[in-house]
């Protein structure tokens, strides 16, 4: 029954590259996560390409790039065809991540590593699951059951449990968070005991986080100071994962009247903000107990935002008057609106830029994080602009020539084709429609049409005219025909053509790139909102879990080493721990010795069970036999598989009393002296602890417990001795 388990890291080994691992259980190959780094590096793709045909199933744990970024490429360009398993929110939010990532990249450069169709195709392969839903695999995977378990960190985050033949349990747990957060429950790793194999990351093993409270206060003070100083705050977050926690938290801050934040604006800016918000609203059942309770009790959706405005373009944000806090993607500042805003705002000392997570090697986010006092930064700023003037003419001419050459005469088609090559994004082509109309950003949405019918005229409010003893009160501003108003108008009209012409998507565009050096005067702060467990807690979790085998992935070599040592030191001596290296195959096979037997009723009824924890235990002496007696035959169902099974499993039958061999008594249960003290109290025996020894009956009897759990009962011969002994025996299942 021993299964051959092999593991190979494609990425995410001994460094902080994204997660992607191959796990082979007998003949079935899983791809655990399929992340891609911020730069879409080719190296990993080569690795993946070698194995793509062998993969039988993909398991995704979180919706971000780090865990599924390469999936569209794998499906679209490498021809990955196997089913992908993910929870419902990972499916939904994963799509959002990919759309936003694509859009952000496409806004900067001609991005062709994957298309939006690849994204849709790859997500069509996803089998959507609920937590604790067991999925038995078919075909080659016969006997394998996969189950997603809650992991915290992000909405729908998953710790995967893979069970082979009901015995070998493999746990794949990376980036989990054991702590309860505002919108998420913690992971449930503590419920897992002694897994056969644990695959986990060492990213945070040596990492200590500030306390949640001080972290939140830091964010709050930073925001307040910046806003009061007339600056803007850019919070670089991800698209649809951790952003929910921050958005919910900031919204709560704004709702609090005393926070003094209402004078300022709060905005969420990314390409899919509206959809992210809608999906968050419809996935309350995946969130924390507290949010769920408040929804059941008060029916207000925690993601029905009142203050947070959803924005989909940069101008929309810039149009918001006054100081503002903007949550924007991507957290690494490599692409997306966050990079644009950074470039816009970093030179102004009044502004503040908040990084909420660590990011990969070579990204702007990482540079800012590592070099705290960076004074200036040289950036390559890329932008997609519309062709204008001569260039446009040139482009049109070329297109025409091309068409003439290829013999196509229909004018309309030329336009369509030209846009095909340059501008992949067309709104409405995909089922996710990016809504940018301001109506939806309003926080209060009515379920029904308002019962009051609005008159079909421009709303006009007649002000009550106020009089004092000199007559009507004059408002001086009514009589100013000043330039200021004009100026405002002009401002708006200048802005308008630039951005409101967007619907004309057919317009040919090009990508330009400029390298500029930007002075960094804005305050840059790193406040950890990653939502991963800290090192200390990871150690505690693993110590209590006591995995038999451990594979350590992703993390610096020191932290991997630390985690490996920890796993070797906990639990029994035959534990093994490996550190994954890229491209190296680890054999994590566990020799297991198991076979099934049937129990005869007469055997069971002759046993005397004792209670231990939540189970019952008994000593069993029995003879194994393959003979099927007549009574059993009669019970056989006509179902074939049933009878087959019966033939296979041997039967255990009771022994003749004379054949029963003796056995040593086992005491099952672990005794805690403090618990035993309670038992003594209940039975009217006084006892007290002195120096770790429990003295009972005025010091006549002593109980010690050494490290290995061995309990020593010591005392002079007396009635008390026997009474204490009797109570002590009751604490065990003695068999």
């Amino acid at each position: 029954m021993t299964s051959i388990i092999k593991f190979c890291a494609l990425s995410g080994a001994l460094d902080d590259s994204p997660h992607s691992y191959l796990l082979k259980v007998d003949d079935f190959t899983f791809l655990l996560d399929c992340g891609w780094d911020e730069k879409c590096s080719e190296g990993f793709i080569h690795e993946l390409k070698k194995h793509v045909n062998k993969i039988d199933a993909v398991l995704l744990s979180y919706p971000d790039q780090l865990h599924l970024g390469a999936l569209p490429y794998a499906v679209g360009k490498l021809g990955l065809t196997c089913p992908v398993y993910a929870t419902v929110p990972v499916y939904k939010m994963g799509q959002m991540f990919m759309y936003d990532w694509y859009q952000s990249k496409d806004n900067m450069e001609d991005f062709d590593l994957f298309t939006l169709d690849d994204v849709d195709n790859s997500f069509d392969k996803v089998v959507q699951l609920k937590y604790s839903q067991s999925v038995p695999l078919k075909g080659k995977g016969q006997g394998l059951i996969i189950t997603p378990l809650p992991a915290g960190h992000m909405l729908g985050g998953t710790v995967w449990k893979i069970v082979k033949d009901g015995e070998e349990d493999i746990i794949y747990a990376v980036d989990y968070n054991h702590k309860k957060e505002r919108h998420l429950n913690g992971c449930e790793l503590e419920k897992i005991q002694r897994p056969s194999l644990l695959i986990t990351d060492a990213y945070n093993t040596l990492y200590a986080q500030p306390r949640r409270r001080s972290r939140d206060e830091k964010l709050m003070t930073n925001i307040l100071q910046t806003l009061r100083g007339g600056g803007n705050v850019l919070v670089a977050v991800d698209t649809a994962g951790r952003v929910l926690e921050l958005a919910h938290m900031l919204e709560q801050l704004w709702r609090n009247q005393e926070s003094g934040l209402r004078a300022y604006s709060l905005a969420l800016l990314n390409n899919v903000a509206y959809n992210v918000n809608e999906f968050a609203k419809s996935q309350i059942e995946w969130m924390s107990d507290k949010l769920m309770k408040s929804f059941e009790g008060a029916r207000n959706n925690p993601f029905g935002f009142k203050y947070l405005q959803l924005c989909h373009t940069l101008p929309e944000v810039l149009r918001i008057a006054g100081s503002k806090v903007v949550l924007s993607s991507c957290p690494d500042l490599e692409c997306g609106f966050a990079r644009d805003l950074f470039a816009l705002w970093c030179s102004d000392a009044r502004n503040s830029i908040i990084l909420t997570s660590r990011s990969g090697q070579g990204t702007l986010g990482q540079r800012l994080h590592d070099q705290r006092n960076l004074k200036s930064v040289t950036l390559e700023l890329k932008q997609r602009v519309k062709l204008e003037g001569a260039e446009l003419e040139e482009f049109r001419r070329k297109e025409r020539e091309k068409n003439i050459l290829s013999g196509i005469k229909i004018k309309d088609q030329t336009a369509a084709e030209s846009s095909e090559s340059e501008d992949e994004v067309k709104k409405g082509r995909h089922d996710i429609v990016v809504r940018s109309d301001d109506k939806t950003t309003g926080a209060v949405q009515h379920f029904f049409k308002s019962s009051k019918k609005h008159p079909t005229m421009f709303p006009y409010f007649e002000d009550k005219i106020k009089f004092d003893e000199y007559g009507e009160i004059i408002r001086p501003e009514d009589y100013v025909i000043a330039e200021s108003e004009d100026h405002e108008m002009a401002d708006y009209s200048v802005e308008k053509p630039k951005w409101e012409e967007e619907p004309e998507a057919e317009c040919p565009t090009k990508c330009i790139s400029t390298t500029t050096t930007l002075a960094i005067n804005a305050s840059i702060m790193h406040i950890d909102f990653e939502g991963r467990s800290d090192g200390e807690s990871i150690i505690k979790l693993i110590e209590s879990m006591k995995p038999k085998r451990t594979i350590v992935v992703r993390g610096s070599s020191e932290s991997c080493q630390a985690l490996q040592n920890l796993c070797l030191s906990t639990g029994s001596s035959d534990n093994k721990a490996f550190i994954a290296r890229k491209g190296e195959t680890i054999d994590a096979t566990i020799e297991s010795h198991i076979y099934q037997v049937r129990l005869k009723d007469s055997l069971l009824s002759s046993l005397s069970f004792g209670k231990a924890k939540d189970a019952e235990v008994a000593w069993i002496d029995a003879r194994l036999t393959y003979q099927v007696n007549l009574t059993d035959l009669r019970d056989l169902d006509d179902k074939e598989n049933n009878s087959l099974r019966k033939e296979q499993a041997p039967l255990l039958e009771p022994l003749e009393p004379k054949d029963i061999p003796g056995h040593e008594t086992s005491y099952i249960n672990e005794l805690k002296l403090s618990d035993f003290k309670q038992v003594l109290v209940r039975n009217g025996i006084s006892s007290e602890f002195i120096g770790g020894v429990l003295w009972c009956c005025n010091g006549n009897v002593a109980l010690r417990r050494n490290e290995s759990g061995r309990v020593t009962l010591e005392g002079c011969i007396s009635d008390d001795y026997y009474r204490v002994r009797e109570l002590l025996y009751e604490q065990y299942a003695i068999i």
Binding site: R299, A615, A649
Partner: protein, 689 residues
């Protein structure tokens, strides 16, 4: 031994008897409450009230059970006849098990029951529970997502979508390998927002299903919808007002979706307002807008674009005073059967005008106005007692999302459960359904389906001989099993699963630990060492003498008990187990005896067995056992005969063997006695060869 146990009483968890007993909804509709008992586990399915009764009378027959013994309570959906008694049961009884329902059900339950409390406060003063009880009950209810597996004390269960209403679930319950599917109310027809009830992927052994519609067959969905919208169109076209009395939650949302869609497709109707008058429904709209994931694919896809539960053409109406009755309109108002409230008021106001129309869209109970008007009477009696001529048109279109015969039959055909238990149906309907199903499988020798329709409190008893299998693990299973091999180990039984492991492997394969207990007992001893040693060697077959490093003399007896002598204190130290404890007691008594013998004489120990004495003792013992006549008084040599009831047993005293070909049992008894006697007399060295 096993037989005797059977006669007395088989403990519940070992019995193979499975009992299903409806405490409500047995040959009736309303107060669903079904008890499922198997292997000592007690599970309650639903806990509703009877809508036609009030106060304690409306409860299911819960006095027949002990609430504190119930392990698990599952609620299928939020209708009053399925969860109406829940706050009472959770707060006013001794129930201490766990209670589960789906997220949407829980969210709506809170508001639906709150509304129920308010409404019935007017009619009855003996309320079962208060708003505070309801609020408190929320704490005790746990939520379960569809397909999520839960395990409560070995009972494994999970939920399937049931259609019917938002959040409605069918529960699959597995106890010790036996699977029971409880459908609650279900519908196999997909509609605008709900999916059709799922077909479970595993086959249940027992199906407990509703039978509300018995052998009826529903009108096709398209027909019924077009009839509905057509009727409304006609009424408003003729300048009339259209009243649709509905129950606030459930089907009403489906009707709203139909109307909103119809209106958006017919711009000419945009001038005609649609109102929905239910504060409860408005409260719960947020739930509908949130738990999109419990609905069908269409809605789930649509959510990406817009929320279908944000209606464009339907306005909410708080009360009749807000309503300006000017010209044609459509109003959906609760209650659904027009017992009182807004729907009744509107009906009375509009019934005299033949242009107006009323569409009854749901199930009506006998004795309500809705049922009455379906018979098209000449006039009706108003709430105030006035007679009003009834001139408006009345139509009945059932939008009830219950399974019909076609769906039930298909469902059963796909699942082929060996046992089907019918509940939640009026007695006649149930009988018809039972007969029809039996007829369907009459000539099918391959399928054996037994159908039961128990009355309330009547139990269906089924036997499931669960095969008990165990897994032999770890060092016990190093080698492949062979015929006749003897397996000795620890059997661990948890949640109806068995494992056999070696004691040394317990901590490896279970979360239990094996501990050990050492005992150290001190006794005062004032005698000399030699005497003690002599006495001890008399007690134990072997005495090992160990000099400890402190210069203390230690004797090890039975290879287990250490006797440490330190001047006048003798300490006994041993690892506790039942055998060693007994040895220790023996050593202890020997030491105490030794203390009392102090100084009288030194004891000389025999070195060989005195044969004559052994014979003497043997005769005496056998006489005690079998009577004086069974044994010869005297005998010579080493052969010896015992006669009991004509059976002779030959004893060979040198080999210590007993022979009795006629009765093996007798032979064994004598053999044991002879051996034991010899061992007790033999000194340490001379063991039985």
């Amino acid at each position: 031994m096993a037989k005797r146990k059977n006669d007395v009483q088989v403990p519940a968890e070992e019995s193979d008897l499975l009992v299903i007993r409806p405490l409500g909804a047995g040959q009736e509709v309303g107060r669903s409450c079904i008890m499922l008992e198997f292997k000592g586990k007690k599970i309650m399915l639903d806990c509703g009230i009877h809508p036609g009764l009030s106060g304690m009378d409306a409860l299911p027959f819960v006095d027949l059970i002990e609430a504190d013994q119930i392990d698990l309570l599952l609620i299928s959906h939020f209708h009053l006849d399925h969860c109406g008694a829940l706050p009472w049961f959770l707060q006013k009884t001794t129930f201490k098990g766990r209670c589960f329902m789906t997220h949407a059900t829980k969210a709506i339950y809170r508001w639906l029951l709150s509304d129920y409390i308010k409404v019935s406060n007017i009619s009855t003063d003996q309320m079962l529970y208060t708003e505070a009880d309801l609020e408190a009950s929320m704490e005790k209810i746990e939520v379960i997502n569809f397909h999520e597996e839960k395990d409560v004390g070995g009972v494994r269960f999970w939920a399937y979508n049931a259609g019917h209403v938002l959040g409605a679930a069918m529960f699959m319950i597995e106890i010790a390998g036996v699977k029971v599917l409880y459908t609650g109310d279900f519908s196999r027809q997909e509609d605008r927002h709900l999916m059709a009830a799922e077909i479970p992927t595993v086959r249940p052994d027992i199906l407990i299903t509703e039978s509300t519609y018995g052998t009826h067959i529903h009108e096709k969905r398209e027909d019924r919808e077009s009839r509905f919208t057509g009727l409304i169109h006609e009424i408003v076209n003729r300048g009339g007002r259209c009243l649709i009395p509905v129950f606030a939650l459930g089907r009403a949302q489906e009707l709203l979706l139909i109307l909103d869609e119809y209106w958006s497709l017919h711009p000419e109707l945009h001038e005609i307002p649609i109102y929905y008058a239910s504060s409860l429904a408005q409260k719960c709209m947020a739930v509908y807008q949130t738990y999109i994931n419990a609905m069908n694919d269409k809605i789930r896809r649509q959510i990406a674009i817009n929320n279908p539960f944000i209606f464009k053409h339907i306005s909410s109406l708080k009360g009749i005073d807000q309503f300006e009755d000017v010209g044609p309109c459509v109003i959906m108002a609760s209650p659904g059967m027009m017992q009182s409230g807004l729907s009744r008021e509107l009906f009375e106001a509009w019934c005299t005008d033949p242009k107006n129309g009323c569409i009854i869209a749901g199930y009506c109970v006998e004795g309500t106005l809705a049922k009455h008007v379906l018979s098209e009477p000449e006039d009706i009696t108003s709430m105030a007692g006035q007679k009003l001529p009834m001139k408006l048109s009345v139509d009945y279109i059932s939008f009830s999302a219950h399974t019909d015969y076609q769906q039930t039959s298909e469902f059963i055909r796909l699942l082929k459960p060996p046992h089907v238990v019918l509940v939640h149906g009026e007695a006649n309907e149930m009988n018809r359904l039972k007969a029809a199903l039996i007829r369907e499988y009459e000539h099918d020798p391959d399928t054996q389906i037994r159908i039961y329709n128990p009355r309330n409190t009547a139990a269906v008893e089924l036997h499931f001989k669960g095969e008990k299998t165990a897994k032999v693990m770890g060092s016990l299973a190093f080698e492949k099993p062979v015929e006749g091999q003897i397996i000795s180990g620890v059997l661990v039984k948890r949640n109806f699963k068995y494992q056999i492991v070696a004691p040394s492997d317990i901590s490896k394969y279970t979360d239990m630990t094996v501990s050990s207990v050492t005992q150290r007992m001190g006794i005062h001893y004032s005698g000399n060492l030699q005497t003690l040693q002599a006495v001890l060697s008399h007690v134990s077959p072997d005495v090992e003498v160990i000099e400890s490093d402190k210069g203390l003399k230690t004797f090890r007896l039975f290879s287990a008990i250490d006797v440490i002598v330190d001047k006048t204190l003798v300490t006994l130290e041993w690892a506790a187990d039942s055998v060693n404890d007994m040895f220790a007691d023996a050593v202890l008594s020997a030491i105490l005896k030794c203390e009392s013998l102090q100084g009288s004489r030194t004891i000389v120990l025999p070195t060989t067995v005195d044969h004559a004495r052994f014979k003497e003792c043997l005769i005496e013992m056998l006489q005690d056992m079998f009577g004086d006549d069974a044994v010869p008084k005297m005998f010579k040599g080493d052969k010896f005969i015992v006669t009991v009831d004509g059976k002779r047993a030959n004893i060979d005293l040198t080999a210590l063997e007993v022979e009795c070909p006629e009765d093996v049992g007798f032979q064994q008894v004598v053999q044991t006695a002879v051996l034991k006697l010899y061992q007790s007399l033999a000194p340490k060295a001379e063991k039985v060869k």
